[in-house]
Each structure stands twice: as structure tokens, then as C-alpha cells.
Amino acid sequence: MSENVFTQRPLGDNVMLINPGQELQNDNSEEMVEALKSAKSNGYKFAIIDMVDLQYISSSGICSFLYSVQEWRDNGGDIILCNVPASIKGVLELLDLKQYLKIADNEKVAASVCGVKS
């Protein structure tokens, strides 16, 4: 796979949009942990993880956001996944995580769940 580009940008005052790039695995999962920590400490209530470019996710990649979900919910917000490719949805389903995680079809739907007006 080619070089991975990890990006993030705010969507309004309460929402941080994070795009992990083409892969989220052991070598860059810490980047996701840090991005979520930093967004939360900067007062964002919601994080949207945009998987539009994601081709591969490892167990470590899943853990990088899975273990923060409850913390965000306890804080009155959430972590929402969007543009999740079918193969990655399949992996989440195998782990029985589809019920636990909030998954939106696309960025627009995810943003509206977070209260961002289009």
C-alpha cells in the first residue's frame, strides 16, 4: 500500500472529522489515539472517523477508537464512523461491534447526527 496520510479538520464547534487514510493498523493506531485525545481535551463533543479512503484496518486500528467510545459518550458526545467500506463493515460485524458503534452512511449524515446544520 502507498504512503498513508492521516488528516483531521473541525466541522463546526463541537465536531472533529478525522480521516485515517488508507490504513489504520499497528503502525499508525497511536496517531488515532492521540487525535481523539487531543480533540476531546480541546472541547470537541463528537468525533467523526471518515473511512472513505480506508482499505485496511487491523485489530489494533479498531482498538484505537473502540476504547474511547464510552468516554466520549459519558461526556455527552460520541465517536461516529462514516463511509465505512463493506469489507470493513464485515470485520466490525464479525467482532459483534456493529451494534455498539454508531455508523453513518456518509459525512453529511454523520454531521447531522452530531447536530451540525448543513
Binding site: N26, Y56, S58, S59, L66, G90, V91, L95, D96, Y100
Partner: protein
């Protein structure tokens, strides 16, 4: 290549790649055996150790012979070579002087059903870069064998999780190598991982995840093996003497 027939039924070929390319050696052997119904015997008397090229040649020969219902015979193999054959799961399928290792149970690597495609073999050092190169090679192998998107994703994930686990938890240093042997039949794929790290049996990992407990305890491990269990049709582990972890994973899927 010097060839002799030690009886009317057998062609003996020295198994030695000195000054020869593996592809050239394989091509010569295949042109010889294609014309003959005789048993093929590889004489290992000159062979001190098996490197990656030898193993790839050997696997290709064994697979191509099994496709036509023939066995491969190995002569004069040293105990060190027998050990490698055993770890690769080949002892059951190689005739001749492998009695010492015939106690292996349930070796699964080659069945007599039709095997499609060439086998995959790789060995790599336990560092991230070498692992990534091996993953790339494995992905190319899956693509070249026309494995569909979903099983390809599953097999890639199994390969990634197991090798990553070895890299992070086996206690091996970066110069130590991990070997992976794989082959593909129609809608069935077999992977075998061999490493000399600390004893670890992933087949005994509980195949269930209690998400509530995991989240409550903030436990960050265990999901990888659970994923492997959920993606695999069967997982078998064996600890060989003197200390190889041999993990065989089978994945079946519907066409």
C-alpha cells in the same frame, strides 16, 4: 543436471541449486518428469541447509506431482533437513527416509484433491519493514490466484494479525526469521506459520469477546486473535521439538 535411474521406476535428481537459478532448476525438473511416469527422487546428499529458494522449488515440485497423483521421494536428507520438512508439514507426503518424523498428527498441508495455483512461501525477519514486504508479497499472491475480495481481505487480515503477534510477543530478536507457507485450493486456503519464539498457542484463545468486560477493564489486547478465530475455518497449533511454534490455519469459503 546429472540424472540417474536407480531402478526402472525412479529418476534420481541431485537436489542442489549451486550456480543454478531456482526457476531454471524447476523448469529442468518439470521437463524431465513431464515426459516420465517414474517416481521422482531428490537426492539431498550435497544439501547442507534449505534456504528459501530450495523450499520454494521443493514445494512447487511436490504440488505439481500431487496434481498428477505422484509422490516425491527424498533421499539422504540430514536430520536438519528432516526437521524443516516436518515443520512445513511435508513429512507425511514425502516418501522414503522420513520415518523418524512420521509421528506428526493431522498435517494438513497437501491433500490429494486438485491444487490450483502455485504454493506461497516466504521467510522474513521480525521487524516492521520485513513484515510489510512479506504482506505485500502475500497480497500479490492472493491477487494472482484470483482470490475474491472478501476472502482476500480475510486472509490478509489473518496473515497480518498472526505475524504481527509473532513480531510483538514472541520474544524473538529482529534477526530471527518467521516462515510462512500457504497454498490455495478451490475455495479453500491453508496457511502455516512457523517461528521459534516463546511457546504460544493461539488455537486455545477463547473464540468469544465479552465487549462489556473488555471496555470496563480497558483491556486493549485479544481482539486480534478473536478476529483470526472468526475469520478462520480451523486453527491448529503444534509445538515441535526443539521449540518451533507451528500454526496451521485453514479458511474455506463459498464460491
Amino acid at each position: 543436471m546429472s540424472i540417474k535411474s536407480n531402478d526402472v521406476k525412479t529418476i534420481v535428481i541431485p537436489f542442489d541449486l549451486n550456480n543454478r537459478s531456482p526457476a531454471g532448476f524447476l523448469k529442468d525438473i518439470q521437463s524431465i518428469i513431464r515426459k516420465s511416469e517414474k517416481q521422482l527422487s531428490l537426492n539431498c546428499v550435497q544439501l547442507k541447509r534449505l534456504n528459501k529458494e530450495h523450499i520454494i522449488v521443493l514445494l512447487n515440485i511436490i504440488h505439481s506431482r500431487f496434481n498428477v497423483g505422484m509422490e516425491v521421494c527424498v533421499e539422504s536428507a540430514s536430520p536438519a533437513l528432516l526437521k524443516v520438512f516436518y515443520e512445513l508439514g511435508l513429512s507425511k507426503y514425502i516418501k522414503s527416509n522420513l520415518n523418524a518424523t512420521s509421528s506428526e498428527n493431522g498435517a494438513l498441508l497437501i491433500s490429494t484433491s486438485l491444487i490450483t495455483g502455485n504454493p506461497f512461501y516466504d521467510e522474513f525477519k521480525t521487524d516492521s519493514l520485513s513484515l510489510q514486504q512479506s504482506l505485500n508479497d502475500f497480497e500479490r499472491y492472493l491477487v494472482s490466484n484470483n482470490i475474491g475480495d472478501l476472502p482476500r481481505m480475510a486472509l490478509y487480515t489473518i496473515y497480518y494479525e498472526i505475524t504481527r503477534n509473532i513480531l510483538e510477543h514472541s520474544g524473538l530478536n529482529k534477526k530471527d526469521k518467521v516462515s510462512v507457507y500457504a497454498y490455495n485450493e478451490k475455495n479453500r486456503f491453508v496457511l502455516r506459520f512457523i517461528d521459534y519464539g516463546i511457546k504460544f498457542d493461539p488455537s486455545s484463545c477463547p473464540g468469544e469477546l465479552n465487549l462489556g468486560n473488555v471496555l470496563k477493564n480497558g483491556r486493549r489486547r485479544g481482539i486480534g486473535l478473536l478476529l483470526v478465530h472468526r475469520l478462520s475455518s480451523s486453527i491448529r497449533y503444534k509445538r515441535s521439538e526443539p521449540g518451533a511454534n507451528i500454526l496451521t490455519i485453514e479458511k474455506k469459503w463459498r464460491a
